[in-house]
Symmetry: D2
Subunit: 350 residues, 4 copies
C-alpha cells in the first residue's frame, strides 16, 4: 500500500500520516520525491482500510501496490535514487558514472597502496578491496579482516577514494559499517535475510550483488529486505549468473540493467570481473555495461594479477584500467552520462 501525498503537503501532514499508519501497527516509510512525497506502508497484508487514509489531510491518493516489492518499486518512487557521499562530489545513480576499482583481496599494505594510487590516478572515485572473503573452500585465503579495513581507512585518508568492501556476517558487518563508505553484500549472501535485515538497520549505503540464480523479482525482494528496515540507500549490482555456458565463469546478464530501470528506482552497477572471470573479457564487457545505461562498474585491478591470492585470472592490469577509463569516457555521453575523473574532497571535509 502506498500513500501519495499532494505536491504541496506540509512536513507536518506527512508526519501525521506516518503516525497514523504506525498506530495501526504497520510501518511507514516516507519517500520524498522531486515533485511530491509518497509513504510506503509495510507489514500489512492488504488489511489497511484505504478509505480512512484517503481522508487524512494532504493525501492525494492511496495506491494498492500489487508487486511483491514495494519500496524498491518505481511505482512508489518515480525518480531515480541518487546516493551522495557527503563531503565529496561523488555519487551513485545520477549523471556521473561510478567506477569502483581495486584488488579482489587486500593482501598487504604495499599492494593495496600501489593499486589505490594507480586507480586514483586514472580517475576512479571508489576503491574496492576484500577484507572478508567468502571462499568456496575452507582452506583458501579468507582475507586479512580488520587489518585490511585499517589499510583501506588509510587509503581513504590519503587518496580521498570512498571505500567499498564486503561484509559476510554480523561481526564483519559492524566493522565494515564503521570503516567503509559502502557495505557490499555478496552474491552468496543475497538471500541471507538475517544479514540483509541487519544491514537495513544501518544508515550506510549497501551494494547488493545479484545471486547466481536470482530472478529479477528475488533480487528486488532482497533489496526490499534492506529497505523495509529503513535503509533506502541500496545499490544493485549484476555480477553474472550461472548457466550451462562454459566460455566464461558466469554469464553476465546485462539485460537486467534496462529491466531493473523499468521497474525500480534503485541504481544498478555491473561487475564485469566476476561476471566473466576472464581478463580478456573485462574490457569488452565493461564497455558493454556502460553502453546499456547502467550507473557504473566494479572492476578488479591488480598490479601483479599473476600473483594475486584470489581471482588473479579476472583482474586487469593497471594499463588496461587506464585504457578502460578512456573508453568509458567516450561511451558515457551516448547514454547521457559523464565519467568524472578523480574525487574532490575539500580539505576539511572528512
Amino acid at each position: 500500500m502506498l500513500v501519495v501525498m499532494k505536491a504541496l503537503a506540509t512536513p507536518e501532514q506527512i508526519h501525521a500520516v506516518c503516525e497514523y499508519i504506525e498506530q495501526l501497527g504497520f510501518r511507514a516509510h516516507p519517500l520524498p520525491g522531486a515533485q511530491r512525497t509518497a509513504i510506503g506502508i509495510t507489514g500489512n497484508k492488504g488489511e489497511v482500510e484505504r478509505g480512512n487514509l484517503e481522508d487524512l489531510s494532504g493525501v492525494a491518493e492511496v495506491i494498492r501496490v500489487s508487486k511483491a516489492y514495494k519500496l524498491a518499486s518505481r511505482d512508489v518512487k518515480e525518480e531515480d535514487t541518487v546516493i551522495h557521499f557527503p563531503g565529496t562530489d561523488a555519487s551513485i545513480g545520477g549523471r556521473d558514472l561510478a567506477i569502483v576499482a581495486g584488488p579482489c583481496s587486500i593482501e598487504n599494505r604495499d599492494q593495496a597502496f600501489e593499486i589505490a594510487e594507480l586507480v586514483a590516478a586514472a580517475g576512479a572515485q571508489f576503491f574496492r578491496g576484500g577484507a572478508y572473503k567468502p571462499r568456496t573452500s575452507p582452506y583458501a585465503f579468507q582475507g586479512l579482516g580488520l587489518e585490511a579495513l585499517r589499510i583501506m581507512g588509510e587509503i581513504r585518508e590519503r587518496y580521498g577514494l570512498r571505500i567499498v568492501t564486503e561484509a559476510i556476517d554480523n561481526e564483519s558487518l559492524e566493522l565494515v559499517a564503521e570503516w567503509a563508505d559502502v557495505i557490499q553484500i555478496g552474491a552468496r549472501n543475497m538471500q541471507n535475510f538475517s544479514l540483509l535485515k541487519k544491514a537495513g538497520k544501518l544508515r550506510k549505503p549497501v551494494l547488493l550483488k545479484r545471486g547466481l540464480s536470482a530472478t529479477l523479482e528475488e533480487f528486488l525482494m532482497s533489496a526490499e529486505y534492506i529497505m523495509s528496515e529503513g535503509n533506502y540507500q541500496v545499490i544493485l549490482c549484476e555480477r553474472g549468473v550461472r548457466t550451462f555456458a562454459d566460455h566464461t565463469r558466469n554469464t553476465l546478464d546485462l539485460s537486467i540493467v534496462p529491466a531493473v530501470q523499468r521497474v525500480s528506482h534503485l541504481p544498478i552497477l555491473v561487475d564485469p570481473s566476476h561476471g566473466t572471470g576472464k581478463r580478456d573479457s573485462v574490457l569488452p564487457m565493461g564497455r558493454a555495461a556502460v553502453a546499456t545505461g547502467c550507473d557504473g562498474i566494479l572492476v578488479e585491478v591488480h598490479n601483479h594479477p599473476e600473483k594475486a591470492l584470489s581471482d588473479g585470472p579476472q583482474s586487469i592490469y593497471p594499463d588496461q584500467f587506464v585504457r578502460m577509463m578512456d573508453e568509458l569516457e567516450q561511451i558515457a555521453p551516448v547514454v547521457a552520462r559523464r565519467l568524472p575523473r578523480g574525487i574532490h574532497v575539500p580539505a576539511a571535509a572528512d
Copy 2:
C-alpha cells in the same frame, strides 16, 4: 593430506600423530573406519613434509588428496557415514531409509500435533517443521521461532519423533541446536560460510541442503566447511536446482545421488516437495528418489494444505503420505534398503 594408520595402530599412536600435526600448526581430524583410522590434515597448502609423517610409529601411508574437499571425500573415509540417534533405533545413512515428514511451517500447536500424530502413525521417525523461515519477501510469514521449537520439543516427547528444523542465523542456530536433533541449513544459506563454520563447532547432526545453483563440488565444499571445524555428522540433501524448465518450481536433480555416493561417504537425502513445488509430483519423485538408492527423503505433509501459511501447493495430504510409505516400503528392498515403521525409544531413553 591424509595420513592412513596401520590396521593395528594403537589409540596412543593415533594420538601422537595428531599431536605432531597440530604442533606443525595444522589441524588433525582422526576418522575411524571399520578397518583402520585415517587422519585428515587441514589448514595446509601442500607444505607438510610427507617424509616426516611417514616415519611416525603406526603410520601406513601418507596420501596427497588432490580434490578440494578432503574430509567429505571417500578417499579419506571409505565406509559410508551412518548417523545414529542415541536412545533410539533411528539412523541416517545405513540400511534403514530415513523419512523426515511434517509441515513446512509450525503454524500453531494444534496443527503441529495433528500432523505429527499422522506421520508418526504412518511410521515416520523424523518430524520436520519450520520455526525460522527464510522467506523471499520481508512481508511474508517468518515463522513462530522459539514457540515453534517448544512445540516440536513436546512432539518429540510425546511421539518419540526426532526433530529436524532449520537455523537461519547465529541466534536461531543456538536455539535450534538446543531443541532439535538435526540442524537444517537451507539452500539459500549453503554458502553462508560463517553459519557453516558455527554449525561445525556444534556436535549435532547438520542437514545441509544443496543451493539452487550449486555444483557437486561446491556442495561438498560446504559440507567440508562444517567438517573442517570438527563436526563430521553432515547429511546432504538434494532439493532441486534452478533451470529454464517451468513445469516444476525447481528441477529435482536425482542424478546427484549416485554422483555423491561415488565421491563422498556422507549420507544424502532428497526433498521431492521443494524439489518440484507441486503436490502431484511429490509421490512420483519420492519413489524415484528412493529408487536411485538415496538414504531417505524429506517430505512436506499438511492436514489442510490449502490453508497452509507457506508452501501449501507442494504439501501432500495425510492419506497421500500413508500411500507413499507403502510404496517406498516396496521399493526399498530393490536397493538393499528397509523402511522402518515407527521409532523405538525405550522408556527411560531421553
Copy 3:
C-alpha cells in the same frame, strides 16, 4: 477447438461433422476414445463459429481448447494412448513397460547381433541402434546408414525384436520408415519442424526426444506438429536437459514424467544413458525413471563399451543390463506396471 461427440454418435454422424469442418477450410482429426469420439479442429485461429457446430447431429459439446497444443492434450483425449505393434504382444503406453535396448551405433554385423542376442535373452522387446548419427563434429563417425538398417532388419527377423532407430533428415526418414518399427527423432531435431511434418505424414510410430532446452510446452508443440499431419502415434522421451550442473553430461529431468501425464495422453519413455552420460548412473536413474511411473526406458548396452565408436562411457555392460531388468521387474508393480520378458511373434506374423 474440439468437438465432443455423443457417446452413441454413429460413424456417419462423425463423418458428417468432419466433412463440415473440412469444408470450412480447417482440418478435422477424429480421436476415438473408449467412451466417445472427439474431433480436434486445427488450422483455425478461433474463428470457427461454435454455434453451427453444436447444431450438428450427434454433437455433445464444443470446447474451446486454450492450450497451444490440442491433439497432444488430455483435454482432447482423456485415455492414455497405447501404441501396439501388430503381429506381436509388444506395446508402448499400456500396462507393460517398454524396454528399448541396444548400442549407440551399429558398428558392424557381429557387434549388433551379439548385443541383440544379449538384450533379447534378458527380455527386451525393442532393439535400438544408430544407423544415422547426428554428431557434434563433422569429423566423427556418422553411422553406417542403410547398411545398419539392413543389419537391424535381420535382427528383427531373427529375434523378433522391434526396431527403434533415428532419422536425421528427409533421406534417412524414408529409409528408416521402411526398415524400422519406430522412427526416432533426436533431441537436436526436436524443433526441426520440416522433419516433424514429414514424420507426421507417415503412419509409423514416432519416438520424439526432448530438446536440450525444451520446455514442456515446446515439447508437446513438437508432438503436435507430427499429430497435426495425421500421425497420432507419438511417443515422448526425456533424455536430459542442459543445466549448469557438471556431475552428469545432462541433467535428467524425471519430473517431466508426471507433468506430461497430467496434461497429455501420449506415452513417455526415459533415456538414462543420454540423460546422464555416465555408466554408473544409468542403473540408479533407470530405476528412478520406472519408479516415477513412466512407460519404459531406452538404454544403451554394449558388449565392449570401452571400444564403442560412440557414447562408450554411458553404455552399460550386458550383465548390468540383466541386473537392471531384474530390478525394474521388482519396481514395476509399485506403479501398477508389468515388465514383459521377451517378445511374442507368432510364426506367420510378419
Copy 4:
C-alpha cells in the same frame, strides 16, 4: 592437421600439396591469409604422417590442431574473415559495422517496402525479413515463402539493400540461396547437421545463429560443418540462450563476442531483438553489443509492431531505429569501427 605454407610458396606448390592430401583420401582446404597460405586437412583421425607432408616443396610446417574445430579456428587462419558483397561497398567482419534490419516476417508487399524504405533511409545496408518461419506451433503463421523471397528481390533491386533470410529445410534452402545474399540458419537448426552440410555445398555467405543451449565449442563445430564442405563464408550470430532468468525471453550472452574473437577468425553479429524479446531492451542491448566489439547487429524493425504477425513485442519502431543508428555511430569509433550509412551499388553492378 594443418599445413602452413612458406610466405613465398607459389600457387603451383599449394596446388601440389592439396593434390597430395586428396590422394591420401583426405580433404584439403586452402586458406589464403595476408602473409601466407595454410591448408587445412579434414577427414583424418590423426593418421596422416606429418613427415611426408613436411618434405613437400613450399611447406613451412605441419601443425597438429588439437581443438575439435579446425577450419573455424584462429590457429588455422589468423586474420579475421571479412565477407564482401560483390558490386557493393558492403562487408561483414571488417572495419565497417554491419546493420541488418527489417521485420520478423514479410507479411505483404506494402509492409515490406515501407519498412525497407525506412531502414535504407536510416543507413542500413542489409535487409532481413522472414519468408520461412520456424514456429513453435504448427498453427502459427509460417511465412509467405517464395512470395516473400520475390518481394525481397524487388527490395534489393529498388534500395540496393542486401538480403538476409532464413532457410529451414532443403527446399527453402535452394530458394533462399537463389534469392538472398546471406542464407540464415536459425537457432533451432544450429545442429541440423544435414542442413548445415547442404549449406556448406553452396557458395553464398551463411549466417549461423547460436542454438538456445549451445556451448561455444558446439557453435563453432556447427560452423565447421558448413566449412568442412568448402563454404568458408560463415557469419556467427548470438541471439540469446536459455536460462532461468525470466525478465527477458532469452538471456543475451554478449560475453561470447570476445570469446569467439579469441579462438576464431569468423565474424560475429548480435541479435538484441530475439536475444531479449522486449522492445525496451533492444536499444540498450544493441549499444552494448557494439561496445563489446562485435561485427554488427541484426534488429527487428516494424512500422506497426503492435499488429505484427510474429514477434511484435520485440520489434522496434522506425524512429527508435533511427536513434539506434545515431547511437551506434558514436560508439563505433571506441571499438575502432565505423558505421557506414547506406549501401553503395554502382548503377551497372548487379
